[in-house]
């Protein structure tokens, strides 16, 4: 039906207000306020609470990455007491190294890359969670403040051995107890 039967002034009012119900207007206002709160939360969490997502850190050539440099000898190294770095290669279908051993309360920076397919690197019970993409280096820094074993699992499909692809971070009371490093 066309608008013919409605009185003209009414029609104008409806026109201006798009015929939006007052309840609906309030609902929309509330949605916008919630939205602003979300924006603020994401921003605060992203910038000031030290939550770290991977960024554009470094690029490598996947064809030769394991030939020289740190990736030729993947593993954990102590930079200074309480500070470690690890170079991890994710390849079909294993992580090298399979074990990262560090003392509790030390900070570790982990770099992961892949010479073949895409893989994933997620350390259970932490917020370390990265994609591993050939050509890119995924880097994260984290402080382990609890003793225990934290498996790292490949969570991107990478072929038939994908289900077997995992390693473990062992956080120990002091280094030496477990041999390495």
């Amino acid at each position: 039906m066309s608008s013919g039967e409605d009185g003209a002034p009414d029609q104008l009012v409806e026109h201006l207000s798009m015929g939006i119900d007052p309840y609906e207007k309030n609902w929309m206002r509330a949605s916008i306020i919630l939205l602003v709160i979300f924006f603020a939360t994401v921003t605060v969490a992203g910038f000031s609470m030290g939550i770290q997502v991977v960024g554009a850190d470094a690029e490598v050539d996947p064809r030769i990455v394991t030939d020289s440099g740190p990736w030729a000898e993947p593993g954990v190294r102590m930079i200074r007491p309480g500070e470690y770095e690890a170079y991890v290669i994710a390849q079909t279908w294993a992580f090298v190294p399979r074990e990262i051993v560090i003392p509790v309360n030390s900070e570790i920076t982990i770099h992961v890359t892949s010479p073949d397919l895409q893989h994933g690197f997620k350390v259970t019970d932490t917020n370390i969670n990265m994609m591993v993409v050939p050509g890119q280096v995924s880097t994260v820094t984290y402080t382990f403040d609890e003793i225990g074993e934290f498996p790292y699992i490949c969570h991107e499909y990478c072929g038939r051995g994908h289900v077997t692809m995992a390693g473990v971070v062992k956080v120990v009371s002091s280094v030496g107890e477990e041999g390495t490093p």
Binding site: M1, S2, S3, H15, M18, G19, I20, D21, E24, W27, M28, S31, L34, L35, F38, F39, T41, V42, A45, G46, M49, I51, V53, V54, G55, A56, D57, E59, P62, R63, T92, D116, L117, Q118, G120, K122, T124, D125, N127, N129, M130, M131, V132, V133, P134, G135, Q136, V137, P151, I153, H155, E156, Y157, C158, G159, R160, H162, V163, T164, A166
Partner: protein, 568 residues
């Protein structure tokens, strides 16, 4: 509608433009062909799902499938492609052809063009299916390089997309022809909504189109040796996120524009329904980096911008929640419903088409809340690529969308074929078993994800599974078992319906089209015009995607050849 006996609702009004237009026999057959392909794809694709879920608790049925399906991953590729890409796309294009014709009250302006589009999609589907079934494209439905599928897989998917574009052009031309004959008249919502979705799809699929044509297809044909996997991911997610809105908007067309009529009510606000669709057109695309929060090679700033934009999708979603619920309430109260929430009982829950869509909407509310979590920067780190994610999208695409489409098919298939629905009771039980099965399945998957279980993994074989996952893995299998029953019931209802005798025209279900409470003519013109919204969409895309996309293309490094031998 009329599937279950109900007193006729007091609003037997059909908008003038829909004027009782009945599709011609060939038009009905054309829409029906889309639904046929869609439903066959769903039946085959869905059967893989329960097998996956049984595997989780150690019941490995794959050896019995050996001649066809060689591995969990091959089955998962079939599951993802057939369900998420084929069932959805064919149903949506068919349904949009239907709402365009029925809504505008006329035939397609270029029926040959649309037929050509449809057959292009079918050829594409066959080309995609052959390599999947011969285990030469076990790359999952995301086909991340350098996993290398047979060239036929990439070409086939391209043809499916191109076919859907061509059909989209047919819809635009039809709308244009209608506008010429109806100057000053607002286009009917069900037609406009579907066509907005088709427009969004054309923009969104540019990402995979470029990915396949400039990188994957030449690489699989041996014309180039290497890929840039990170750039490929950026291309993929340019399409991958709006893909979910492409699935969802046709369900919204039904929730806003049809379901209210099925419950004896009206569309609460035509203006807001349109506003929501236009907003989806604008904000669906420039949010893809929220799938790449954990990717190396994308700077944090862009991730943050896309996180904010992702939240803006919350706004049209809230409009939808309000308008749809208000429309349903309006109908329920007219049918005697009372009380603050008591009116819900006055909805026609015994109509399987209504029940399926209401249950779909309820599951979607849970899905929406989970989605807010996924999009949050910090929480995403906990759940990215864990079992949480399939837990989430089985509430959205596999329930809100799939169960709604099933509900639609409960009147649409009878309407198109001139029959009545076979055993509405079975259909009703089907909807409820889907609901119950999915709640169990999805809840368990969410919990597993929080505990750290990876996705895309046959967890029944994994060595790192701790004791505490076992109960949840079992619940995944139980949910999957209930869903298996539900899928089979759906197939039976469809097949049996098609095998009943045709009935007299007045016994065939009518098409439910909800009249807006205030005449659509009162909706402002700017809510019925493509131009400003397309310009806004293009601008936002340029600002929010342009710089990083240009940067990644400019610095493209084709250096990843992949492994020497087939990895699956």
């Amino acid at each position: 509608m009329s599937v279950v006996d109900r007193p006729p609702s007091s609003s037997e009004y059909e908008p003038r433009f829909a004027g009782g237009y009945d599709l011609t026999r060939p038009e009905k057959r054309f829409v029906g062909q889309h639904l046929f392909v869609a439903i066959v794809a769903l039946m085959i694709g869905s059967l893989m799902g329960p097998l996956q879920s049984f595997q989780f608790s150690g019941v490995d049925l794959y050896p019995y499938l050996d001649p066809i399906i060689k591995s969990y991953y091959q089955g998962l590729t079939l599951h993802g492609v057939l369900n998420a890409l084929i069932w959805t796309t064919f149903f949506i294009v068919g349904f949009t052809a239907f709402t365009t014709m029925k809504g505008l009250g006329r035939s397609l302006s270029h029926p040959r063009l649309n037929q050509f589009g449809f057959w292009t999609m079918v050829v594409g589907l066959v080309m995609t299916a052959i390599p999947i079934l011969t285990n030469s494209a076990t790359v999952l439905y995301t086909f991340y390089p350098p996993l290398k599928a047979s060239w036929a897989f990439y070409l086939g998917l391209t043809l499916v997309v191109v076919g859907s574009w061509i059909e989209g052009w047919g819809f635009f031309l039809t709308l244009r022809a209608w506008r010429k004959d109806n100057r000053g008249v607002r286009s009917p919502f069900i037609a406009l909504g579907g066509i907005i979705n088709a427009a969004m799809w054309q923009i969104a699929t540019l990402g995979v189109a470029v990915e396949i044509l400039t990188m994957l297809l030449p690489w699989s044909l041996g014309l180039i040796d290497n890929t840039d996997p990170e750039l490929a991911r950026t291309y993929f997610w340019f399409t991958g996120h709006p893909l979910v809105y492409f699935w969802l908007l046709p369900a919204y067309v039904s929730w806003y524009g049809m379901l209210p009529k099925q419950v004896g009510g009206k569309l609460f606000s035509d203006s807001l329904a349109r506003l929501a669709f236009w907003m989806f057109l604008i904000v669906s695309v420039p949010v893809g980096f929220h799938h790449q929060f954990t990717d190396p090679g994308v700077p944090q700033t862009w991730k943050w911008i896309h996180a904010l934009l992702t939240y803006s999708v919350f706004f049209p979603s809230m409009i939808t929640a309000f308008t749809v619920i208000a429309s349903l309430e309006y109908g329920a109260r007219k049918n005697g419903g009372t009380g603050l929430i008591g009116w819900i009982r006055a909805l026609p829950w015994l109509d399987p088409s209504v029940a399926a869509q209401l249950l779909a909407a309820i599951l979607f509310m849970f899905g929406g809340i989970g989605g807010l979590t996924n999009a949050s920067y910090s929480l995403n780190l906990v759940i990215h690529n864990t079992a949480w994610v399939p837990g989430h999208f089985h509430l959205t695409v596999a329930s809100a969308v799939t169960l709604s489409f099933m509900g639609i098919s409960y009147w649409l298939v009878p309407y198109l074929s001139g029959r009545q629905l076979w055993s509405p009771k079975t259909a009703l039980v089907q909807a409820w078993t889907w609901f119950v099965g999915m709640i169990i399945f999805s809840n368990a998957m969410h919990v597993l994800g929080l505990l750290g279980a990876p996705r895309r993994t046959p967890l029944g074989d994994a060595t790192y599974v701790p004791e505490e996952w076992n109960g949840h893995l079992l619940r995944v299998s139980i949910g999957g078992g209930i869903l298996l029953v539900s899928v089979i019931m759906y197939g039976v209802v469809m097949v049996k319906t098609m095998r009943t005798e045709r009935v007299a025209a007045e016994l065939v279900p009518t098409v439910p089209i909800a009249e807006p409470i205030r005449s659509a003519q009162l909706t402002p013109v700017w809510l019925d015009t493509f131009k400003p919204w397309l310009i806004a969409a293009a601008l936002l895309l340029l600002i929010a995607y342009g710089p990083q996309l240009v940067d990644q293309i400019w610095n493209m490094n084709l250096n990843a050849p992949g492994p020497d031998s087939t990895p699956w």
